[in-house]
Amino acid sequence: MSLNTETNSYGGGFATPPVDAANAFRAAMNAMARPGTVQDILGAEPPAGISPAAGCLLLTLCDPETGVYLAQDVDSAPLRSWLAFHTGAPIVAAEQADFALGSWTDLMPLEQYRVGTSEYPDRSATLIVEIAEFTAPNATLTGPGIMDRAGLALPDIAACQANALQFPLGVDFFFTSGCQLAALPRSTKIMAKD
């Protein structure tokens, strides 16, 4: 499928939606289940400004019932229309968002996102954080889904630790770069690497 993104921003969806979405969901699920591992995720070509991995995640996870918050650095008219055409997800403020997309600095402060309630801890936001690349780990991770210990490069260790302390409340993170993603659920314990 050739793209004509100069004149419209609707191209670049999944070529075979059922198969591609299932593969992307598997990658996202494996990343969440095994924090710190880096998974490949392919299939979407989103408008300029966000990575293919983030585009795949949005196509896979969003629908008309999930509010999406676009941070300042990724918010653009082409991305909004692309998201509306493929998923129908409404664009909402950070306080109501089910998913938030952007770079770490533009997504902050972390306190503005929903962390769920004691009765419904699942009513919380999932942050899709765009990073330049997966660099050498600066944090050691332990907890559910991690056999011994795992490592991941986190943008702000103190903020992530504060989020993990709220467990079972809190937000979950996906980190995306190019066609790869890693995840950090709220259940993971984080220690700074010395």
Partner: protein
């Protein structure tokens, strides 16, 4: 690509295409004989939509029932985007509807309106009148006789 298309005008032709008879539309489209090259944005897919109504157009909305809809979206070589949403399960019909929608936004609009849309409009009018005539034939007039009691 023309940009001075009103929402109402586009609604009108999309409505005509959505309700058109498939055989009729296919015939008109092949007679028009101008098949543009295009790329799929969304290949034809069949799904259901909930049709909602309001009693007397003013009451609270209620669910009338589900209906089957086929939709697709495509883009022409110049970037014009056409959407096709049609009743039923026919993917070729949705494809033609999307192509007509796209071409109606280009310079081909005047020819296309004459060749396809006006014929569809006429067919819809005929169907509507036939139905109204059939209903009118079964109309029963009630009137009260004056009873000769005094």
């Amino acid at each position: 690509m023309k940009t001075e298309i009103t929402v109402a005008a586009r609604k009108t032709w999309l409505s005509l295409l959505a309700q058109a008879d498939e055989g009729e539309l296919t015939q008109l489209w092949s007679d028009f004989d101008h098949d543009p090259s295009f790329d799929w944005l969304r290949p034809p897919e069949v799904g259901g939509v909930m049709v909602r109504g309001r009693m007397g157009s003013v009451g609270a909305p209620f669910n009338l029932g589900e209906m089957t809809v086929t939709r697709c979206a495509l883009t022409l070589a110049d970037g014009t985007v056409g959407h096709g949403y049609v009743q039923g399960r026919s993917k070729p019909k949705a494809e033609i509807a999307a192509k007509v929608d796209a071409l109606m936004q280009t310079a081909a609009a005047i020819d296309l309106r004459q060749a396809v849309l006006e014929a569809l409009q006429q067919a819809r009018q005929t169907r509507k009148e036939a139905r109204a005539a059939k209903a009118a034939a079964t109309k029963v007039e009630f009137f009260t006789m004056v009873r000769g009691e005094d």
